[in-house]
């Protein structure tokens, strides 16, 4: 007895397809509807968060490692892009991809070192990475501008502000789409299944032949690539970099909060989380001004998610929806008992090699 029947699955697919279509429409129509620079900036902020959260989720969702240090990668992407434009004179978008490529290559030894350890040490390393980069970028003022900040020339100097925002809105949307597609491809692939097995039980998956270290490293490097692209695109859009904001454990953990809130095991989880938390932060700023209370709010939200909703919003929501739309399902034990009763009533025919339908076990 299968636990979901054909009509239910078809219904589920239609619902998901409709949701995705509506989501795309909303994202694409937003700049036309919210036509002022402030709203566009908020929209870009949320898309930027969504890119970073989805990129983070290559590691968090597929390997189960919680990295609080992804700000290191986005910060390096941002500064890399900025420095390639200002010092090396590369055109903006060439710099963006070159910087991202450099960070991706750098992520190989970093990931190799960090992933050798598990659990607590990994988190400590990820935080340490952000903190040391913060120190370095603040101190090396001759190269990075230190605390004075680094100004990045705009890629399209002819555009005025609203146009500039609109172009970058769609650029961020495109980057988000790329990240989502990549995540989806991995999610349904054999490689992705292997990663999920590593997340469940690393030693057991090794015993089944899965190259656990290589798998984790690849997930980390792909995550680094998208994170660096997000950071670099931000640098091109925002135009001004400060180490305190680029190498911030707080920003990194806000991104983690978004992924967790939405649901790390789901494609759109980080996006949903980014929308909710991003909008919430903006609202908080409007209502209460830029006070330290937003730290308290973030803390409470993060703590609440960890304690009460560690799987995120999407599973909770789909659980509710499933109860409304799906037929009542008996528990596994009941099914087993029922089938057992059936099989006890009429012993099944056994073939000569003993390979007939076997008895059900309790």
């Amino acid at each position: 007895m299968r636990s979901d029947s054909e009509p239910t699955r078809w219904r589920g697919r239609v619902a998901r397809g409709a949701a995705i279509a509506i989501g795309c429409a909303v994202i694409l129509a937003f700049p036309a509807v919210a036509d002022n620079p402030y709203m566009l900036t908020v929209g870009i902020g949320i898309l930027n968060y969504a890119v970073l959260a989805t990129a983070w989720n290559f590691v968090g969702g597929f390997t189960g490692y919680i990295s609080l240090g992804h700000a290191a990668l986005s910060g390096l992407g941002a500064y890399g892009t900025a420095l390639l434009v200002t010092c090396a004179g590369l055109p903006s978008f060439v710099a963006l991809f070159v910087a991202a490529a450099l960070v991706t290559v750098l992520a190989i030894p970093i990931g190799a070192a960090a992933l050798r350890v598990r659990g607590a040490s990994f988190v400590i390393v990820s935080i340490a990475l952000v903190l040391i980069l913060l120190l370095v970028f603040q101190s090396w003022a001759s190269l990075t501008g230190g605390s004075r900040g680094l100004v990045v020339p705009r890629p399209f100097p002819a555009l005025h502000r609203a146009e500039h925002h609109r172009v970058f809105y769609f650029l961020f949307a495109a980057l988000l789409a790329m990240a989502l597609v990549a995540w989806w491809v991995i999610d349904r692939s054999r490689f992705g299944l292997g990663l999920k097995a590593i997340r469940e039980d690393e030693d057991k998956s090794a015993a089944l032949g899965i190259a656990t270290f290589a798998g984790k490293l690849i997930a980390f490097v792909v995550s680094a690539a998208f994170t660096a692209l997000g950071g670099g695109l931000y640098a091109l859009w925002f135009g001004d970099l400060d180490p305190v904001f680029q190498f911030s454990v707080l920003t990194g953990s806000t991104v983690v909060l978004m992924a967790l809130l939405g649901g790390v095991r789901h494609l759109f989880g980080p996006l949903v989380g980014a929308v909710i938390v991003g909008a919430g932060l903006e609202y908080g700023k409007l209502e209460f001004g830029d006070t330290p209370l937003h730290l308290v709010g973030t803390g409470v939200l993060l703590g609440g998610v960890v304690m009460f909703m560690p799987e995120g919003v999407i599973p909770a929501l789909s659980g509710v929806l499933a109860r409304w739309f799906a037929p009542r399902e008996a528990s596994i034990r009941e099914v087993t008992a029922a089938v057992l009763l059936d099989s006890r009533r009429e012993p099944p025919p056994r073939s000569a090699s003993g390979e007939g339908p076997a008895e059900v076990d309790r």
Binding site: R2, R190, L193, E200, D201, K204, D361
Partner: protein
Amino acid sequence: MTGRADARARGLQTTELTKSFGGVTAVDAATVSFQHGKVNAVIGPNGSGKTTLFNCITGMIRPDAGRVSYRGDDITGKPPHRIARAGIGRSFQLCRVFARMTVLDNLLVAVRAPGLPHQLASAHDRDTIDRARGWLVRMGIDHLEHAEARNLSWGQQKLLELAGVLMAEPDTILLDEPAGGVNPALIGRIGALVQQLNAEGKTFIIVEHNMDMVMSICDHIIVFDRGRPIAEGPPAQIRSDDRVLEAYLGV
């Protein structure tokens, strides 16, 4: 004579394998040759080093000294996944399955698919699913295909674990206490399954305490005590060996 030497060369064997933990020597210069193509058993009192032996063979633990070879290749200290890919599968003493994955996915994980295009292809393709379903039917848990592994009973999880190991198509299978905590009917079924699979060409090495099962299905038994083999041979010989009685009863 040379025929037998060939067979041994093709099988799994350890040479002077040693592993200590702190002051305790779990495996003490153990030299063992398992018979390829047969059902082997490793028996012995608790603490005699059987599971540590398995862990050293499968790469989960690095031995302090000695070698492990399989089919003539030295696999000592290699990473676990390479040893698995060499054709050695294992089950665990405390049955390990992927708890939050479905029963079907638990099997799909074991598919060997080298090369980038195969790795990026969908995990749920028709042929693989059919093969997996075949194993589930053979184990009798096909009706639980979409259930999460953590919702299965202990016995069902043991069958699931075994199905997963078999899905990877190993030549040699190490079973660590397959009858542990399992009802007699299921023990019988597992025993029958081992014999069927052995007839199909798979080599088994079983660590077990259940003497009925061991004596009834095994061709070659190795007795371990305090980290080293003290006797080996067919069941009839082992049953009447004084050294074995001494090891178990301390007499």
